[in-house]
Amino acid sequence: MDEALLADLRRVLGERILFHEADDVPTIGVEASALFDAVTALYRDEALAYRYLTDLFGMHYPAGAGEAGREARGEDLGLQVLLYNMEKGRRLRVTCRFPVGSPEVASLTPLFPAANWLERETYDFFGIRFKGHPNLKRILNIESMTVFPMRKDFPLEDQSREDKDDPMFGR
């Protein structure tokens, strides 16, 4: 990662940066409980000024994948926030992880109104609950769905299909 950018990030976030890496996009990891404060600080800082929310989405790394040490804490489920500084054309990825049992994180809607539907989608597919979201309900799937289909423990195929119950040619 660019040294000047890293120095700026350290000045603003300090110890809240758990790890950083220069991927295709500069990436920093923070605790889930600190995500909202971190993104707010990145928004308000005059030098960094990440004031555009490009995307926000969940991810699921079943045990054994992802950042070292995290799976040992059962933190399989994660959230990625892609931020953009439109004036300087700079991007930043902020990621956090939390256990499957209690996937809770503060909603970014007070800061970015655009996060509303993105967080609903993330809730819909990963079951991540955003505290303080004005209307946290499913957005794409049917309301009666009981599972979060993008989690890896959920089979992708529709389980109600009978024509593939074949020992030789079925799935």
């Binding site: 799937n141 049917i142 599972v147 959920f154 992708l156 195929e157 529709d158 799935r171």
Partner: protein, 198 residues
């Protein structure tokens, strides 16, 4: 035997042996004489129903494109008395479901079917509407026959307009050969009850 533009002798296409020939102009059995034709009420009503069937095109994906081709001048379902599309389910006789139906769309399709007046027929066009097709996944309804009864299935991904025409003619066959009392029968009521439709 003529010569086609490709320079090869053209061979008249023979119908497949044993295949049921479906003719749009076949009169029902009856008594014919000078200036009159007498037949049963069932057959006369069936003739009228098949000759002016109003379809409701419920096109959601690529099968809908094939349907547009079927409806356009080259294939022209107007030849079968179907040029008037009913975009209101109240006046539609035939629900043509063409395309992938997501689970979220299921209740809407069911409402459309429920709003149609009897007698009503359903044509399921393409693999997705008939069985879910390649979309063996959590979000797609695995065949519309899980929520509404279907009269005729047209296979294909997507089917060619000829196949859709064949499916339409088979619906016409069902309509013209249906007993007037069929919709009052216990079997029909049991069918609707199976789907939970009033």
């Amino acid at each position: 035997m003529g010569v086609n533009p490709m320079g090869k002798p053209s061979v008249p296409i023979q119908p497949l042996s044993g295949a049921k020939t479906l003719s749009p102009v076949e009169p029902p059995p009856g008594l014919e004489g000078q200036g009159f034709f007498a037949t049963t009420l069932d057959a006369a009503v069936g003739l009228a129903r098949k000759g002016s069937m109003w379809p409701l095109p419920y096109a959601t994906s690529c099968c809908g494109i094939e349907f547009m081709s079927t409806a356009a001048s080259h294939y022209d379902i107007g030849r079968f008395g179907m040029e008037r599309f009913s975009y209101s389910p109240r006046q539609a006789d035939l629900l043509m479901v063409m395309g992938t139906i997501a689970k979220k769309l299921g209740p809407i399709l069911r409402t459309v079917y429920e709003q149609m007046a009897e007698p009503r027929w359903v044509l399921s066009v393409g693999a997705c509407a008939s069985s879910g097709g390649i979309f063996d996944t959590y979000s797609v309804l695995q065949g519309i026959d899980r929520i509404i009864p279907v009269d005729v299935y047209v296979p294909g991904c997507p089917p060619r307009p000829e196949q859709i025409l064949d499916g339409i003619l088979r619906v016409h066959y069902l309509a013209s050969h249906e007993s007037l009392r069929r919709r009052d029968s216990e079997e029909y009521k049991a069918l609707l009850a199976h789907y939970g439709i009033e």
